[in-house]
């Protein structure tokens, strides 16, 4: 049709192809995927018409990965292999996680991030999150009928670098091209602002399952400018459930709970909390594994009483965010409520009193983040129509700093700086002939390094020996539009480039470090590659040895076909280990792990059976000896 080719000035001549992009709200309790279809942002449902995918992943004895409501249904029966609220563990060490004692998992301490031991093997929170994302990706591709160009993944505004990096890694692991990590409150503001054509100062109060964010934004003429943000990345609706659980235990005088009972009662606690949104009293009944019956009534009054401190805990960051933005509560034109927990009447009341106005609840608090993310994804993918354009200016939530003498932090980039942002800092030596220097990057507001999050440790080596104070080492910190940090270093005076060795503590992944080194210094590249290669070889050797030993011990657990596939994987790994390609070695290990997954599960089952029937095994042995 000729008509189609007549374009308005400024409009593209051909109606361009619509690129498939989605927004994903990867929540603590529930996750959602949304997209823009015919100019409308819509949440995509599963085959049963459900929008919310419970963020629950179960690794079944059959070797399947089940995500969502089916996994949720099994959580009390199979607590160790059913991971709920995995978002709380993203980018976190064991010591950072609250309520460890009541979480029914086999935690494993690992450098940087905690791991979870399941029947499907030891899982990092990144892998578990990737399993959730894979389901959403499949859902989206089925609904849209094609491969996705990319996705916008939302994160709590208050997530630090390690948590953001973990989220991005999870998305990559799930095969998603991350167009942007978007702060949840900002996503909500987009959904709200574009819908209502709002101008002025808005606050977004976002209380999710496990995280709390407050963002103060200025909306004007198509610009969403975050002025300040605050929050608590370990406070959410889950904590309200936890309080109810404690109340149940105390009131019913229960003995310390077994994992299954804890899960059951947490579910009951959540149901009671939700029931209290529309009622004055919630019944709580449960039958514990011991046969003991719990039969209680929780009144709204008692609920408000036991959760009062949690509500108050959200108002402190609100105050701080306002002060950071240089504003008073009355400057705020509207307060957008986001997250399922904002349905709690006591929260709406407290927020209303704090900002001296009725909070806005006209958008579904469960969906608004995904809707905003989809809208932004559509824009980023290049599907913008003329005039349909806006600009988003976000900030970093926590200051970035360096360790100085005496374990103190020196801020390099202050919190609430608009991103992307960079800052260069010069360092020098304090001893004559000093050739190396340690640099420790931390994130947080506290004065002591030990109270901040450690992001990375660098050692600058190969500084030419000079008089103390003569070398000039320029270290550049760059925070990109995803809020992620990268660091580069260079010795200025000598013309000789200093080498950098990076010891990752939190957040920074292998690849990021490699990228960091590539963009910086030549020697360092070799060094780091050598080390990474060496580490990969050692790890691969260990894996080979363990697998071979296991195969000798339990050859009967594999049928011929399975055994052949394992043997192929073993051979491949043995070959690549001789080479210089670290990625090939890693890939070989992944392949072997994949092929031996089921074998490992069976071995685990067998050893459990043996342990349970310990005596009989011994008896058999004695019998053999006779």
């Amino acid at each position: 049709m000729a008509l189609l080719q007549i374009a308005e000035p400024g409009q593209s001549e051909l109606p361009h192809e619509h690129k498939l992009a989605v927004g994903i709200d990867l929540g603590t309790t529930n996750s959602l995927v949304a997209t823009v279809r015919s100019g409308m942002a819509v949440v995509l449902n599963d085959e049963d018409g459900r929008a919310l995918l419970p963020s629950v992943v179960r690794y079944t004895p059959e070797g399947e990965v089940v995500v969502g409501i089916e996994a949720q249904a099994e959580q009390a029966r199979d607590p160790k292999n059913t991971i709920v609220s995995v978002k709380r563990f993203m980018g976190r060490g064991l010591e950072d996680i609250g309520h460890v004692e009541s979480a029914p998992y086999d935690f494993q301490v690992a450098p940087g991030m905690v791991r979870l031991k399941t029947r499907a093997g030891v899982k990092s929170p990144v892998e578990v999150s990737a399993d959730i994302l894979k389901v959403l990706r499949t859902r989206a591709e089925a609904a849209l009928g094609g491969e996705l160009v990319g996705a916008v993944i939302t994160v709590p505004a208050y997530f630090d670098d390690a948590q953001r990096q973990a989220t991005k890694d999870a998305a990559r692991l799930a095969g998603l091209n991350v167009l942007r990590l978007l702060n949840e409150p900002t996503a909500a503001a987009i959904a709200y602002g574009l819908d209502n054509g709002s101008e002025g100062i808005y606050a977004v109060y976002d209380l999710g399952g496990g995280t709390f964010d407050i963002s103060i934004l200025r909306l004007s003429k198509g610009v969403f400018e975050v002025m300040s943000t605050g929050g608590d990345s370990a406070l959410g609706g889950d904590d309200f459930d936890q309080r109810i659980l404690c109340w149940i235990s105390e009131t019913a005088k229960l003995a310390p709970l077994a994992a299954m009972d804890a899960r059951l009662l947490l579910t009951k606690a959540r149901e009671a909390k939700e029931y209290l949104t529309g009622h004055n009293e919630a019944p709580i009944t449960a039958k514990l594994t011991s046969g003991e019956l719990v039969n209680l009534k929780l009144s709204a009054e008692v609920f408000n009483d036991i959760t009062q401190t949690l509500v108050a805990k959200t108002l402190q960051p609100c105050k701080k965010a306002l002060r950071d933005a240089g504003l008073r509560p009355t400057d705020v034109k509207g307060v957008v409520m986001v997250g399922g927990a904002t349905r709690i009447p006591a929260i709406q009341k407290a927020v209303g009193e704090f900002f001296r106005q009725e909070p806005l609840t006209n958008l579904d608090p469960d969906k608004v983040v995904a809707i905003g993310a989809a809208t932004q994804a559509n824009l980023l993918a290049g599907n913008r129509n003329p005039g349909d354009d806006w600009l988003l200016l976000d900030v970093i939530p926590l200051s970035l700093g360096l360790e100085t003498m005496g374990g103190l932090t020196e801020k390099v980039i202050p919190r609430n700086s608009t991103i992307p942002v960079a800052r260069a800092q010069e360092f020098t030596t304090f001893k004559d002939g000093q050739t190396a220097m340690a640099i420790h990057v931390v994130q947080g507001e506290r004065e002591l390094v030990s109270d901040c999050r450690s992001l990375a440790r660098f050692e600058l080596r190969g500084i030419p020996p000079m008089v103390a104070g003569a070398p000039r080492i320029r270290v550049t910190f760059q925070v990109d539009a995803d809020g992620l940090l990268s660091v580069t270093a260079r010795e200025q005076t000598s013309g000789v480039e200093a080498s950098v060795a990076v010891k990752p503590s939190y957040g920074l992944t292998d690849d990021e470090i490699t990228g960091m080194l590539q963009s910086s210094l030549e020697h360092a590249k070799d060094d780091a590659f050598r080390r990474a290669l060496q580490e990969a070889r050692v790890e691969a050797d260990r894996l080979l040895e363990a697998t071979e030993a296991a195969l000798k011990e339990d050859p009967h657990l594999l049928d011929a076909g399975e055994r052949a596939r394992v043997d192929v994987a073993l051979e491949k790994l043995r070959t690549v280990i001789q080479g210089e390609d670290r990625h090939a070695i890693n890939h070989g290990m992944d392949l072997l792990a994949l092929e031996t997954n089921e074998f490992a599960a069976r071995r685990m089952d067998q050893s459990i059976k043996r342990a349970l029937a310990g005596k009989r095994v011994d008896d058999v042995k004695i019998g053999e000896e006779e």
């Binding site: 160009v149 167009l179 610009v223 980023l380 993918a381 600009l391 992307p420 960079a422 539009a481």
Partner: protein, 176 residues
């Protein structure tokens, strides 16, 4: 736009202390609308890196001009006038006395946990600071008296630091 231009030139603004903040805001947004990484999310790796560098540059310029103290420091820097932040801390005795009184008041209020008192100090100081910035505008834009502007800027550095400490004290009290 020229990557290496000074911040005023970058935004097409006259090199003055009393910048039109409305125009600055508008120019900043126009610039970001051109270079922000969100405009290049589907572009090549090289373009994305370039966009990030540009957006970083625009943010840096905006930060330097948005608030009066960094703006004054930047103007002095452009004029080649040393603000003497590090090597010229000798301030008049009466100014230092006044500072000590303020600091004692903050200290007392903090120890006594008097939030109202601290807030009162915050607003009183804010008014004082505003007055001096008005003065600074005259020194820069009418009189072009850079040594005097440097002197006043140095005082304002003390006052802003004091204001910052009052706010920190308030936060500390509220977090208790």
């Amino acid at each position: 736009m020229d990557f290496n231009a000074d911040h005023f030139t970058l935004f097409g603004l006259p090199r003055v202390f009393n910048v039109d903040l409305g125009v600055l805001d508008a120019r900043f947004r126009e610039a970001q609308a051109q270079v922000h990484p969100d405009k290049f999310a589907d572009a090549s790796e090289a373009d994305r890196r370039l966009s990030m560098q540009w957006a970083t540059r625009v943010n840096e310029a905006y930060q330097a001009l948005k608030k009066p103290l960094p703006r004054a420091q930047y103007l002095l820097h452009l004029a080649g006038q040393d603000v003497g932040a590090e090597n010229n801390t000798a301030m008049p005795v009466d100014f230092l006395m006044e500072q000590m009184e303020w600091r004692e008041a903050v200290q007392e209020a903090r120890q006594a946990g008097q939030v109202d008192e601290l807030e009162d100090l915050h607003f009183r100081l804010r008014d004082q600071i505003a007055e001096r910035y008005a003065e600074l505008g005259t020194l820069f834009d009418q009189q072009a008296d850079y040594p005097a502007a440097a002197d006043l800027t140095r005082r304002l550095m003390f006052l802003e630091k004091l204001q910052h400490d009052i706010d920190e004290a308030l936060v500390a009290l509220e977090d208790q």
